[in-house]
Amino acid sequence: MENMKIILKDIPDLHKIEVYESNGGYSALEKALKKMTPDEVINEVKTSNLRGRGGACFYTGLKWTFMPKETPKPKYLCCNGDESEPGSFKDREIFEKNPHQFIEGTLLACYAMGIKAAYVYIRGEYYKWINLLQNAIDDAYKKGYIGKNILGSEFSTDIYIHRGAGAYICGEESALMNSVEGKRGYPRVKPPFPAAYGLWGNPTTINNIETLSNIPEIIKNGGQWFSKIGEPKHPGTLLFGVSGHVNKPGVYELETGTPLMTIINDYCGGVTDGKEIKMVIPGGSSMPPLTKEEALTIKMDDASLKAIGSAIGTAGVMVMNEEADIVKVLLRISKFYYHESCGQCTPCREGTGWMMRVLKRIDEGKGRMSDLDLLIEVAQNIEGNTICALGDAAAWPVKWTIKKFRKEFEAKIPEVEEKSVPLNKVHSLRYS
């Protein structure tokens, strides 16, 4: 079956502006500027039912309507390319293979919402991709697609790249805005929401890179067309980033609702060494994992994954075979969230460290049976009790991996448990 591709099309050298133009590039921008009002652009995106690709699956068109129309304040767009969730590596493919479609989508978003400046926030580690996108932006400026009076219209906007400096939390939209403002990346309390009080207190919308990259095709072909691709409630394609124990890891653009096993077997060449699957994380390391039984039948879209208590997240699929040490995997995930907690909220700042240290003691064969319920309890005390979703992101994998793979943890707990582990011993396990 030939697969529908909206973003990562099989066109050689598509990253070059001339190639992009000769394949219909920037025609959506021209169409919008010459034939459509900003409201018509928003309505087309609403009709498409496009949902955010950053993990929350919020309706993009609806988000855009939250921006005030009549306001004396400047309005801003933040394009979220922080992409720091372990297992996610899709936005870099867009920057490398089709940067102009992302730029065109950003311009359409700016036109639709009356925005004069867009900041593309890219994680600091993506040095190469920052340069690639900057080259593409420079080319688009030269051709008059960005800047003053775009294509001879009244519409003007600028696009700037803002390089991060190594902080997972800056993928959270309000932390991202603080980072653009030159501050520590602390998430803000909401409300007020960004559309009311965003960058420098002005109305701001934050969209994921992949989300924006879909906009040009929606404007070109119509919202109706897009809404019929893949699963009707979560239409379009997703850039599945598959890693771990598969033969051909990589980014695969496939329609929503594609069965997970089709992705693993037909596109990724199956599990390495012909082994069985033990666990699959479906959407980046914060998403509740799937057991083999769940993995065998699941379809990859928002509703299907929610129905079994997980979520699509960033569609970063991490595959683990029968030999994977699930305790070590969870310990590594916990270490990550402990390292990345910004430290504002006590449940997350302290809880992530507790979870990591208890998991470490289990992994070292010094755990107790009661530790498993203790971990779930700590996770539940973090979940929902923090300013931002990092708390949930840290809690979910712990809670659900233990619930679904309890035997793996029990196997590492000694029959004769140490009566008590002195506190100083626990502290000696602290992450260095």
């Binding site: 372990p86 190469k128 970063g316």
Partner: protein, 165 residues
């Protein structure tokens, strides 16, 4: 040597023009400091503060928040090895151990000659091409094996020697 030369100061003015407030230029300017001097010292922070009219305390807060800003000198060749889940499943920890043993240094240490340093880092978004490492916050080297990393270290080392002569 001047802290920033005329060309760099012009670049900073250009960066400032991207934002309504000059405070927002802080992250990009700190990147310029690190690229020029290799790390960000207390003195550098004070100079950036004078330049952008930001209190030193704010800059210290920012520099210590973001992991990529070096708070102390690193090796000329700073090797950043990912050990997060996707890399771990494909030998990230083995790579980290191999490189640190080969260089005889531990996490965040610098070799005696100041040439190499090694750091265990979180996911770099290179999950399909694991295991991997990044050098000096710039280039990615992916799908590594022991042989490949031996060659890489040798070629980076000779490049550095050429640059120094």
């Amino acid at each position: 040597m001047e802290f920033f030369n005329e060309i760099e100061l012009k670049k900073i003015d250009e960066i400032k023009s991207h934002y309504p407030e000059s405070k927002a230029a802080l992250l990009p300017v700190l990147w310029m400091v690190q690229e020029k001097y290799g790390w960000i010292s207390e003195d550098s922070m004070k100079k950036v503060g004078d330049l952008l009219n930001i209190p030193y305390e704010h800059i210290l807060g920012v520099v210590t928040f973001y992991t990529m800003y070096n708070k102390k000198p690193v090796g000329k060749i700073h090797l950043q090895i990912c050990t997060n889940v996707s890399c771990m499943l494909r030998g990230g920890y083995e790579l980290f151990k191999y490189v640190s043993d080969k260089l005889g240094i531990k996490n965040k240490e610098v070799t005696a000659d100041g040439m190499f340093s090694v750091e265990e880092v979180e996911c770099l978004g290179s999950c399909a091409t694991a295991p991997m490492l990044q050098v000096n916050n710039q280039n990615f080297y992916e799908n590594l094996s022991q042989e490949k990393v031996d060659k890489l270290i040798d070629s980076l080392h000779s490049e550095q020697k050429v640059n120094n002569t």
